[in-house]
Amino acid sequence: MQDLTQLLRETAEDLLKRKAVGVVIGYGHTGSRGDMTAVFARTPQQVSQLALDGECYRNLAVYLNKPEVRKLGRCAIVVKGCDRRAINVLIRENQIAREDLHIIGITCEGVGDPKMQKCRFCTVHNPPDCDTVLGDPVDIEPEEGEFAAVEAFETKDIDARWNFWKEKLKDCIRCYACRQVCPLCYCKQCVVEKNIPQWVETSSHLRGNVMWNVMRAFHLTGRCIGCGECERVCPVGIPLGLLNQKLIQQVKDKFEFTSGMSADEKGPFSTFDLGLDTDDGIL
């Protein structure tokens, strides 16, 4: 990541001085162990906490929907390419308005050392439609196919797959960290928390976990932009990204739809296309 920290701080300071925004949401090494966490700079002085480097994993879009951030009025947000697509989905689902955001896009060659899997096939190194863009455009060819992992997994036969998932899902402790970190899981009351009727059993045995993980993945169909945060934060290391990628693949092949590309796109499950849809597999 080129050294844009200084550039970011000047931009943030200028925005705050002009009162164009109430807060600048960015990255900074303010974590307890010095790791990279979210920084909310509200006054020009706090701008010094901002920093940019290879560890900017988080998807800061998750904070946009929080009531506490809403109260601060218009806000500026530092986004990588994947985060920018998440903002598009939020706009499309009427959660935030484009005018309430000052988007500071940073051109990103990929985060994490070694590079996170999502960055290896990323196609949005340069975030589109931003108010300010820091860093010169990046031109990197994807190193592997978007669905390489999915295709690798699908080489297993049906029982091997079940055994793999049974082992993984058995460990799920239902901490719901994956839900908390995902910018698109903003429901006030998630289906898990409804108990009349209790579709998803709350105890963390295999049956409940299967229901929870399947429904979490299915509710992101045609919305998830593959930012990989859910997999990163899962304390027990369940490969949630794999489920998400499978659904992204299905939506791309069957409905020629890629989520987050524009703010006025229509989700695959709220429309239909008599030309595209087929009756395969239906008696």
Partner: protein
Amino acid sequence: MPTLTVNRQEIEVADGATVLDAAKACGLEIPTLCHHRGVPSAGACRICVVEATSRGRTRLIASCAYPAEEGLVVQTESERIKRSRKMTLELLLARCPESERIQEMARELGVDTPRFKTENRNQKCIMCGLCVRVCNQVIGVGAVCFSGRGQTREVVTPYKELSDVCIGCGACAVVCPTGCIDPAEFRDKLLERIPNEFNCGFDSRRSIYVPFPQAVPNKPVIDRENCIHFRTGGCGACAQICPAGAIDYEAEDEFTEEKVGAIVVTTGYQLYNPAAYEEYGYGRYPDVVTSLEFERMVSASGPTGGNVYRPSTFEYDDDGKIVGGEKPMVCVFVKCVGSREEVKHKPYCSNICCMYTAKHTMLYEHKVHDGQAFVFYMDVRAPGKNYEQFVRRVAKEKTATYIRGRVAKIFPRNGKMVVWGADTLSGNQVEIDADLVVLAAAVVPSSGAVDLAQKLRIGYDEHEFFNEAHPKLRPVETNTAGIFLAGACQAPRDIPETVAQASGAAAKALGLVVRDEYEREPIVACVDENTCNACFNCEPVCAYGAIGEKEIRDRKGNLVKIVAEVNPGLCQGCGACAVTCRSNSIEVEGFTDAELYAEIDALVP
């Protein structure tokens, strides 16, 4: 509105009127040759000359073309005019001695033998140019024109061959004053016969026509495909002739939208195309007709005026109307053509064929007294009131010989239609040389029934008849509220049953629309405003547009949040919204998650 004096009589005429119009308005007769009401005038033959004085100069003018100017003084009778007309006629007589029209006009003015050397050409054309003008300026085709000038001037088609742009409208033959254009010249081009659909194409109709005698509204329509005006921009004869000025070529179809409370679908039936029976030869042999075509023939308002002729012997007049034909002495009626046949055609019985075939045999006997009718049948089904007695009468009065058996093949042989069939009662083959074969084809729903059904969202069966809500309990309703059925569109039925069903449907429909309130099924969606995230994923999924926005405001009126809201009047309770809502904030009464959870739980103990 210029005023002028004609023979010392003041007359006011409309703008654009000619001196001839003014004279006619005064009741004066002026002879004309190259003038026709529907064709722009040229003032060429000079027979209509009158004396006109304007700005102090009196001279002979062609009244047919000279516009009626303000203050013009016209004299239609004078020695000078008489001399001029006599000389014109004498010269025309010298040119066309054979033309009766010119001889007649000449005799009227006292000219019998021309003093001039008669031209050796004996044609009747007086070069008036009417045919050229009507073809070029009125019809707009331009198939005929002048060529050469002076004595060598003649009316020709290009290269003197039948012009390929000629559409055979015959306008030139109609306007020619001396009748020297014979329609036979363009016989094969005679305006392609437009088959009259209502008379099953037996005779032809014009491109402006009343579809059928009992049409509602009983007014003519224009067939844009064949009408010359729409093909070439010319003609317009109907607009000129229509006294009420009712013809407007620019009128376009309009789509009007009506908000209605109920719809009664009565799209009726049509006959199954018997051409599917290759072996019967319908469509290949003109003497094999369907029962509907036979019905049109026996009808007094039909193409043959009620007489039964063999279609292969129809005689047409120039106008495409049937004026004669040969009466069929032997007529064979074949029943169940396409009905009661599971393998290739329709498995159901068409209900009405037995009764109308019996009627047809009586009509045939009435129209062709010494004719002989045969009927091939599988069963005679006469279930209605007095139906069986009616069929018994046919047997008693021997109007037809009923043969129980199917027909195998029909083919022409030296002028007759040979019918091969079986007689199951006697067990042997039957061969009849018939003059006419009438096929009682099966009843099928009108074409386009399926499109309508999908548009109205009502069900239909595999034969495309519409599905009633319940065969026994709700026969006149459909599953879709507010849409009712009547008549043969629901199943083959005859007139008494149709009328009964129509009355039922009308009553049901009225029952719906007269009350101002309207009960309906309670299955309606409703939103849990606490958990709704206002993502409005549900809104595009609702096919009835029943989901809208609702603003939640606190007591002081400032906006707290926006949530989704369902309009119970529109919602049909399909539940699609309940599924797309990830937080299950929207539920359908009667199919709530809790109820379905309980059902699933109970079903798999």
